[in-house]
């Protein structure tokens, strides 16, 4: 954690706004674009009115042309600018895969280092009321899969600000993942500018009995699960990897080697997903670790609340699985935990 005294209590969305505001002041090559970035809502406030401060060419709305506009950003990056392309939902990135995977990830390699593509792709993920099959997906594994792309998914406001600043300054294409249910979470954030390094994870809670690794919003739920687990005497160590590519394998390996149990809480489908990568790495590199994963059910996301609830992992289901792995009572039924950010959500979107 950054130790400056000058910290303010702000929320995740405000932290992202600060990162944008400060980096735009810092470097005139930085610009933001995306559907609605300069509209009255300014992507959850994160880009609100930035065009008034920095001019229309540096914070501008676009046609619904995700494929071309990704290429436009790449081209601008090739010309020395530092574009930030903001997406209202990560599901729309499926329209950009060609530009991101076939182009952005390759240009440095096929030009032997002559060119770089310093673009940031900000993508909101995450549930709320009935987002359904096409507004709930989280494709971190698609980008982790590809050499040449970095992926970052901060959970706390502090890390959100610093990680966005690092992403903007990074000379590679970065996919920056923001969970909608985190925007309102508050935390102490330095007012000045700072970076969160890629490839470094964070132990958010120490424990000796089991290692729980979450990603983005499931880190929050993992912490809640850790609270529940305390009541049955299980001390969980909770890890927030923050950076998914590169990923801090060392941190996870050493925690798992200590606790001998690893539960990965995915924020997406598990097959060939984030959780399968973490478990595989530990299975290969550590001895005698009991592994498990929990994540989205293997179905499209349904809209009706009762099925939506069954679709996502939650603090209880995480705690139950962890407790079983620790040899606890299989019939343990922890009390309901309030996921306030989800409960307090009022539609429409």
């Amino acid at each position: 954690m950054n130790n400056t005294l000058d910290k303010k209590l702000i929320n995740y969305g405000e932290a992202l706004y600060e990162a944008c505001f400060q980096e735009m002041a810092n470097d005139e090559n930085v610009f933001i674009y995306g559907l609605g970035v300069d509209d009255p809502k300014g992507h959850y406030g994160t880009s609100k009115d930035l065009h008034k401060e920095y001019g229309n060419k540096r914070n501008f709305d676009i046609p619904l042309s995700e494929d071309a506009l990704t290429g436009v950003g790449i081209g601008a990056a090739l010309a020395g600018l530092r574009p930030i392309y903001v997406h209202q939902r990560m599901d729309f990135l499926l329209l950009c895969m060609n530009q991101l995977v076939n182009m952005a990830a390759k240009i440095r390699y096929i030009s032997s280092g002559e060119h770089s593509v310093p673009i940031v792709i900000r993508a909101a993920i995450g549930r709320s009321w009935g987002q359904g099959a096409q507004h709930s997906q989280s494709f971190q594994s698609y980008f982790m899969h590809v050499p040449g792309i970095k992926v970052i998914a901060p959970t706390t406001p502090h890390d959100a600000k610093g990680a966005l600043i690092s992403s903007i300054r990074d000379n590679n294409p970065v996919v920056f993942i923001e969970h909608r249910m985190l925007y309102k979470n508050a935390g102490y954030v330095p007012s000045t500018s700072y970076e969160i390094p890629f490839g470094k994870g964070r132990i958010l809670r120490e424990g000796n009995d089991i290692t729980i690794v979450g990603v983005s919003h499931t880190v929050e739920d993992s912490l809640r699960a850790a609270d529940l687990l305390k009541s049955v005497g299980v001390n969980a160590e909770v890890i927030d990897p923050i950076s998914l590519s590169p990923i801090d394998y060392d941190l996870i390996r050493s925690s798992a080697s200590k606790t001998k149990k690893l539960l990965v809480v995915d924020n997406g489908w598990m097959t060939c997903g984030f959780s399968s990568e973490i478990i595989t790495d530990v299975a290969i590199n550590c001895e005698g670790i009991r592994c498990q994963r929990i994540g989205f059910e293997d179905t499209p996301c349904p809209t009706t609340p009762i099925l939506e609830k069954a679709f996502y992992p939650n603090p209880q289901s995480i705690a139950i699985m962890a407790n079983k792995m620790c040899g606890g009572n299989k019939k343990w039924s922890p009390p309901a935990v309030e996921q306030h950010e989800i409960l307090s959500f009022k539609g429409p979107f």
């Binding site: 559907l35 609605g36 509209d39 009255p40 809502k41 709305d61 676009i62 046609p63 619904l64 042309s65 995700e66 494929d67 071309a68 599901d91 729309f92 329209l95 009321w129 009935g130 987002q131 359904g132 099959a133 096409q134 507004h135 059910e297 293997d298 179905t299 499209p300 349904p302 809209t303 009706t304 609340p305 009762i306 099925l307 069954a310 679709f311 009022k346 539609g347 429409p348 979107f349």
Partner: protein, 315 residues
């Protein structure tokens, strides 16, 4: 051959559509509808006009702003309401919500929440009609924003290349969320571009139900003579917010005077004026009772069982 425009029918469909969405507004703050809703209020004339022109055989592709297309098609209102409530008697047993309505009985295909994604499917359906030597025309509704997407133009190109029987109904409400068309393309170009892509395109001058009805009839007659894709651009104005039941007037993202004018010129009122009061009253009663029944149907339905989660992932 032009069927005469049936004002009574138009008024009924229009009122059913309007009142259904007003009911959504009325009930939304109860949080029983835990689903994003993209209301069509202000744009219903298009769906009503088109629907009155087409036959039961036509297949409909629509989008997340599909309530009007669905209701004016007289697709199952009970099931729609049950779906909004997330109930097991809904159009997708509660798994789809407002953005994925569908009713095969009325050839109303499942809608998509990703802009422009259903367009090529509508074209593929038209290809299948031709492949199978079947009669029929595909109706494909979309917004002005959808024409920003490359897939839209790829689809038009394929449709013209194969002379497919399809009508694109472009509902131009001038906005994609809060972004005006002028910030997305120069010179209001949809019709001209469609023509360059080999599609017979017309921008409708008026904006009444009857105007849209006539335009659709003309297209159908043309297609009967010669299979060829058509596009009709329909001007309209969405009264409410992009999503949800508010009107977002506080955001000041558009000229509120124009909104007021549109509300004053509501075609529903014009239709009503053309009918005897007794007819109007009878229709109002009928519509109210249909909607109340539908809401009751939704209320009375059960939520799906948790073990249904895995149903229909694969078939």
């Amino acid at each position: 051959m032009k069927k005469k425009f049936n004002v009574e029918k138009a008024y009924y469909l229009f009122l059913l559509t309007r009142k259904s969405e007003e009911k959504i507004i009325e009930l939304y703050n109860t949080d029983k509808i835990k689903s994003p809703v993209h209301l069509s209020i202000g744009q219903e004339a298009i769906a009503v006009g088109v629907n009155m022109a087409i036959s039961e055989d036509e297949v409909i592709f629509s989008n997340y702003r599909g309530h009007a297309h669905y209701i004016a098609r007289e697709a199952n209102l009970d099931k729609m309401w049950a779906e909004l409530y997330g109930k097991s008697r809904g159009t997708a047993r509660g798994k789809g919500g407002s953005m994925h309505l569908n009713d095969w009985g009325k050839k109303f295909m499942p809608t998509s929440a990703i802009v422009s994604t259903a367009i090529p499917q509508a074209v593929g359906y038209a290809y299948a009609l031709k492949y199978k030597n079947q009669k029929g025309v595909v109706i494909c509704y979309h917004g002005d924003g959808a024409t920003d997407e490359g897939v839209f133009w790829e689809s038009l190109n394929f449709a013209s290349l194969h002379s497919l029987p399809i009508i694109f109904i472009c509902e131009n409400n001038k906005y994609a969320i809060y972004t005006h068309q002028d910030k997305r393309a120069m010179n209001d170009p949809i019709v001209e571009r469609a023509r360059a892509f080999g599609v017979n395109a017309t921008k409708i001058k008026g904006s009444s139900t009857e105007d849209f009805y006539n335009a659709t009839i003309d297209c159908l007659n043309n297609i009967e003579k010669e299979s060829k894709p058509h596009l009709i651009e329909c001007n309209c104005l969405r009264w409410r917010d992009h999503v949800g039941v508010g009107d977002a007037r506080d955001l000041n993202y558009r000229n509120e005077k124009e909104v007021d004018e549109a509300i004053t010129n509501d075609d529903l009122l014009s239709l009503e004026k053309k009918l005897p009061i007794s007819t109007v009253n009878a229709i109002k009663l009928k519509v109210d009772s249909q909607i109340n029944n539908a809401v009751r149907f939704a209320e009375d339905s059960k939520f799906p069982e948790v073990n249904e989660l895995y149903d229909n992932v694969y078939g």
